[in-house]
Symmetry: D2
Subunit: 337 residues, 4 copies
């Protein structure tokens, strides 16, 4: 951490900063220049609030040099993390496609969709049994019954299951029926929940919060990893911007940036990311071209009657066309599908 | 809801939209203009996703005329809601000041601060026993012990207690020791938690999410009210913008706007809202001048050594000066303090 | 335009809205429902401010059904606009690559770079002679001398020239030396300048403003087209978001969305869009995979010593690798390069 | 400037950074810690791009310690700048109110409004003769005729004139008829224009760009001051956020923050800042309570028929009530009105 004093800072002000740093057990290096004094603090700053120093008299600026996440950082672990779920490996050379309905509505619906996406090359079946809804009056999912359907259908077609848990009371059920536990964007900074997930033994799909920075996202992953669960998959699902035409604005650059900052695999969700059916395929292609390790896509055989998010679900036929396009693109990245 | 068709929309496309609306039990009014057809749907659209219609062929735009919240709206209830906690009334003519440390650290610390803020005119003691922290390595609060301290000190100085619960496992404890349960910004869309709070019998202080729109904020209040708990106090605590000099950007206009849209009382948090001690007083004055029903302010007798958010805590002396300024401003609003 | 009255609106309030609409020469349709009255206004609303009606007593909401741009809209012109500059066609089946230094620094520098990008397949040479700089103390470009260098080098290697004009005093010079006139992001709503460009006879490359919506961007294009110049190429160059790791956040979804809303060609600028050299190639691939008609890329043979934006300029070797990757991707889009 | 190397940076990488800094004439201080090397560079970094160093191999982070603006900074000039226009002093103890119509529409309209605002205590008459409009089809102002009206009316009622120039061709006219030249938000980074204004001899009212940071805003002021014109008044007029209910989100905290960073006076525009008539008074009170040096307010005697921005113009009666409220608030700030 570097504390830059103002040009006119007094010797007493400098001494107060140094004293405070020493009280916090930092190694202090003072550099007195022609116009200003700069103080370097060596030690673990990850639990320090830089604002505490910013408001001290005579301080011009405080900069934390090291990032506050450790276990999630590329610096801590050089090689890519590959999350394995049976024979599916996320973060390796194979592009992993997760697909299925937004919400599990019935056995028939789930079977119809799962059969098509499995045939087209998906490896993981997605589907919500617990649905976070902005309105208390909206369909909130089938609960355990939905999980049962999801698992039995997945098993039938040789797929793994990814599904959302909304709070700690859902964890046990998702562990029982699923393979990957999804954390929704609105829960990315639900710290109590993240701590519970650290104790969980299944891979976590951690969606980016809708206005989260990369650092906050990786700090959320740090919560899970520091709790003892290394198997975190990040998922870019669009951020909020001024533009309201699309539901969210996909930050495709997050993919190569986060792969540099962290060793964790990262996938993209072009369905939530755009909110519009006809934009799903272009953004899926873009995410893969930028280096995503996988995709999670909402597919519905009758999206106009979907109980949730029908507008962003693509038809099984569209999914097949997209898969064919992705097969053409992945060799550029040195990947298979 | 109004569905505007594109100028070149075919009769079949129009018929499909009408059929879909009727299937959802709407009363449909068709208006065929010179260049385009506009379809009005009368009925309860609060659980409808407008996106579902936006992607239908031939549709140009879909507009939900009514707001999706009902019980939280001014339309539903004309007169102001006044939340009463003993002899303290939030949303009435008196400006209610809540003050205290960011986190409860010890009995001594809490007593020292509570005595000063009570003497200066605060009616409610704030203080966190469960602290949401972006880093898993930061101080996370004293838990139940903190609640005990908070309540005993509040009782000593004739104050009420407002304190945060982070998840459902904290509710019972907060009910036992506190008077107002605070929901943090990061939990504003934790829908499972909001449902639990609807069953709770104590007033809820609902902080605005850091990138939430007014509609989303009021929908969060709707979750609580629709669950059976009418006593919701809204709290503007700053939103995220591009500017990083301040921790958040206080949206002071939220105060008069939300008071028009909703009957719920609204207070402001200039400590979280700015993140900087010397900006707390100007923003507190601004919030009151714009019509806030109250303020929640972090005060610390030794902020440089605060275990959490010291940089945004003001000194007891500064709090007294601010209270004197507010006493001069409130008559303009027809209020007392 | 649709004006929805509040449920309790009086007959006088409804009459006032209708009278105001008729005064503005609209055809008015009134629809009186069980709970509220909705008024439809048929006519040209492009010069109307909806806010004017929003503040009238009894009005709940006002919605402009039609978009305010006309000549730039897909509705006005169904087929894609192809902008031709000699034998280069932007918006056709060929992906057009524009490349070169951020700023023209010298003849040698420009020649060295132009030779490499031409050889690798670029068709247009980019380079700034007038540079908008946030600091008044930064290098602001070589002016006319820069334009001379740019054109002579472009001619030598069979390239066209795209270069920025910052205000009306530059237009004549850019017309003399260039083929495409670039409007920078900060000038996207410089309305005086846009009016002048409408009178100009050369194609305009219109960069998106850093916080502009799609509608504002297309309204800027509308200014140019309504002034008489149809040859507008849109350029997505990243928007401002909370994330500061990248200079801007590229909104890749803008590409398929704007292609649907408008007939104008759209290209992407991954250099400005990311501000970081190692992110240029992934984002260039993403933009092409999402359907961009072209790219504009900063290339420098000695970026560490570039006088402007060296950090986001790629090496000629990197440009060659990228071109090879793009050649593999474009067949998916039915394009050549 | 501080360049922090990555923990594993090689000696060659460190040497390369130092060599580059020395090439740029910086004084270099090296500090080799247990885990990483930090390099301090002393000298004028205002024209340096930190990104240039960020992409060098082995570099973890680069931080510019000093702000890039000089002449606009409080560090350069400790005492407040007071801009004087005849007997009106902006930035002194008197709160200065500027009021008038959004656009000058006619002599009658301007006279009617000016008489009322002068009587209520305004010192400066506002009114646009050149109007930046998002649509090329909207009313764009009366031009020179508007300026003539504005000045003759202002003289009649003893007011000064503030009015907008949109580009360099308007400067001479505004100098002829006005007292303060207004730069609109969309022109805040029109660098050619700012350079011209530096040569101008009249005070400049510089509106904040709609997504500008404080630093960018002060850099725009730096352009004007470094060109030779010290008389810059800053104006907060709202920034763009996700919330669309209000036209913009007023950043009231900008007032105390900018007053700390800079010596320039700062006023607020609650009309543009909210876009809604009934929110103008609360936000005007808030801005004054937070320490603004003045206000600029749109007033219209028949806002429903205003040719521009009628929805955000208040009635003369409302203006009088507001002035009475402000007279009650200003003593808290040690001001008069």
């Amino acid at each position: 951490m570097v504390v830059a004093m103002e040009p006119g800072a007094t010797e007493d002000q400098v001494a107060a900063v140094i004293a405070r740093l020493q009280e916090l057990k930092f190694d202090v290096h003072r550099s007195t220049g022609a116009t200003r004094t700069v103080i370097g603090a060596i030690g673990d700053t990850s639990a320090i609030e830089t604002e505490m120093f910013e408001v001290m008299p005579g301080v011009a600026e405080v900069v934390r040099i090291s990032v506050p996440y450790k276990l999630a950082s590329r610096m801590f672990k050089q090689e890519d993390t590959v999350v394995r779920v049976g024979d599916v490996a996320i973060g390796g050379t194979q592009l992993v496609i997760m697909a299925g309905p937004c919400a599990v509505e019935s056995l028939d619906q789930t079977r119809t969709i799962a059969e098509r996406v499995a045939k087209a090359g998906a490896k993981v079946l997605r589907g919500g049994a617990f649905k976070p809804r902005t309105s208390p009056y909206s369909f909130a999912g089938l609960g355990e019954q939905g999980l049962e359907i999801l698992r039995s259908v997945a098993d039938e077609f040789g797929l793994k299951v990814v599904t959302e848990a909304m709070d700690r009371t859902h964890i046990e059920l998702v562990e029982q029926y699923g393979h990957i536990l999804q954390v929704g964007a609105r829960n990315m900074q639900n710290f109590s929940f993240l701590r519970e997930l650290g104790k969980c033994r299944m891979p976590i799909l951690l969606k980016r919060g809708m206005s989260a920075t990369y650092e906050e996202w990786l700090m959320a992953a740090e919560y899970v990893i520091s709790g003892g669960n290394d198997n975190v998959i990040l998922c870019e699902r669009g951020i909020r911007t001024f533009e309201t035409y699309t539901r969210n604005t996909m930050d495709i650059a997050a993919i190569p940036v986060v792969k540099k900052l962290s060793h964790l695999p990262i996938i993209a969700d072009p369905s939530q990311g755009t909110g519009r059916r006809e934009k799903v395929a272009p953004m899926a292609r873009a995410a893969v071209a930028a280096g995503a390790d996988g995709l999670i896509i909402e597919v519905h055989h009758d999206p106009d009657r979907a109980l949730s998010d029908g507008a962003q679900s693509i038809w099984p036929d569209q999914f097949e066309v997209l898969m064919a396009q992705l097969r053409q693109i992945v060799p550029v990245l040195g990947r298979t599908i």
